[in-house]
Symmetry: C2
Subunit: 201 residues, 2 copies
DNA sequence: CGAGTAGGATACAGTTCTGTATTGGATACA
DNA sequence: TGTATCCAATACAGAACTGTATCCTACTCG
């Protein structure tokens, strides 16, 4: 039982993986179907046998990426919720470690965001993903504040939105000017202040 | 004296204007030269008479955009530096009002950023632009703190980087979820806290 | 071992885009 | 008024890409 359907889903996976790389390198419209196939080691025959079009692949890629992201979160949450460190270490740790490759992830997720800003359906999907992601983080924050006796003067979700926004903007700066803005520097400089301002012992 | 060179530069300007719109709508690679010309009311003949390629036009567009941005800043700075309101009102006002159309500006600047992350030359240009922009903001902050007797415990530039990062991330959220995140809400919720934390009377 | 089938490769037709070469028309100027 | 010039339109050739239709190969299973 090694080749009836497993082979098919394996090539699907390789195509998705290739698409991820090529999209990160050349962008969404800049990558041709041929590019993706070449990267994955196939020809277009394999592609059109698995996907109806590039758009369809993009959708599948987004869902696959979302799934992986949620898995990563699920894997990281337990230790972060309980073990050492502060609330901010936990939240930032999750944001940082959820994706294996920060640069690629930033390129891809920016590409998705741009796509979503132009297509209502894509926007729906992206907003749903971000909502789930944010909820996980919010629960994490709430749990940590509960167990540590800390209390926030703003809704946890609002606080999470802040951290996400700052993280995204800061990552952009870090990737453009790695020397001037080491990864995480902005967050680690300012977020503790915000936390201090919004928390009561 | 109305048509020797003025006509030429007028079509250049219209092409750039068309490119701005089309790039915002379909993205950089998604827009064909023909699309741009059609939007501007020309055919490709006009295009290739004014630009060598789409890449060249992109560069020109970036510079034109940069110029306009700096003009906007120069126009807004004086009143913001002196007149009423707080430091944050001034900085956020500048970030908000520097571009006439927030959505289009966000799409275009994200597109540029993405492009820059893939091309070292574009990265250079973008970093230069952002550096100038940041310096203007930094000077504004320094001037306001000086005249208002306020003092920051972090370098003004670092503070500006924070505001820019937060602004960018927050704008992304606002555009994706206008109802959940009204424009400016994140900034106006949290930045005063940071400011309070980093300033001494 | 042989027929059937699934999945990917190859070949091909059609479309779209780019870039150049040529043409046409309007304006400046003698 | 006629001519030279400039600029954009048009016409054309070639390249790149998409999507389909057919072929080939390697398993599966009787």
């Amino acid at each position: 039982m090694e080749t009836p359907k497993r082979r098919r889903s394996a090539t699907r996976a390789r195509l998705l993986e290739g698409a991820l790389e090529v999209f990160a390198e050349r962008g969404f419209h800049g990558a041709s179907v041929e590019d993706i196939c070449e990267r994955a080691g196939f020809t277009r025959g394999a592609f059109y046998s698995n996907f109806g079009s590039k758009d369809e692949l993009v959708l599948a890629l987004f869902e696959a990426t979302t799934d992986r992201l949620l898995e990563q979160i699920a894997a990281l949450l337990p230790e972060l919720a309980t073990q050492p460190g502060t609330l901010l270490d936990a939240v930032l740790g999750l944001l940082d470690d959820a994706a294996p490759d920060q640069r690629q992830w930033h390129l891809i997720s920016t590409e998705f965001t741009l796509h979503a800003l132009r297509s209502p359906e894509a926007a729906d999907a992206l907003v749903r993903q971000r909502t789930v992601f944010r909820q996980r983080l919010t629960e994490l924050v709430e749990e940590i504040t509960r167990t540590s006796g800390l209390q926030l003067s703003v809704p946890a979700e609002q606080f999470v939105r802040l951290v996400m926004a700052l993280h995204e903007g800061a990552r952009s700066q870090s990737l453009l000017e790695p020397d001037a803005v080491p990864a995480g520097s902005l967050e680690h400089t300012f977020l503790p202040m915000v936390l201090a301002a919004v928390s009561r012992p």
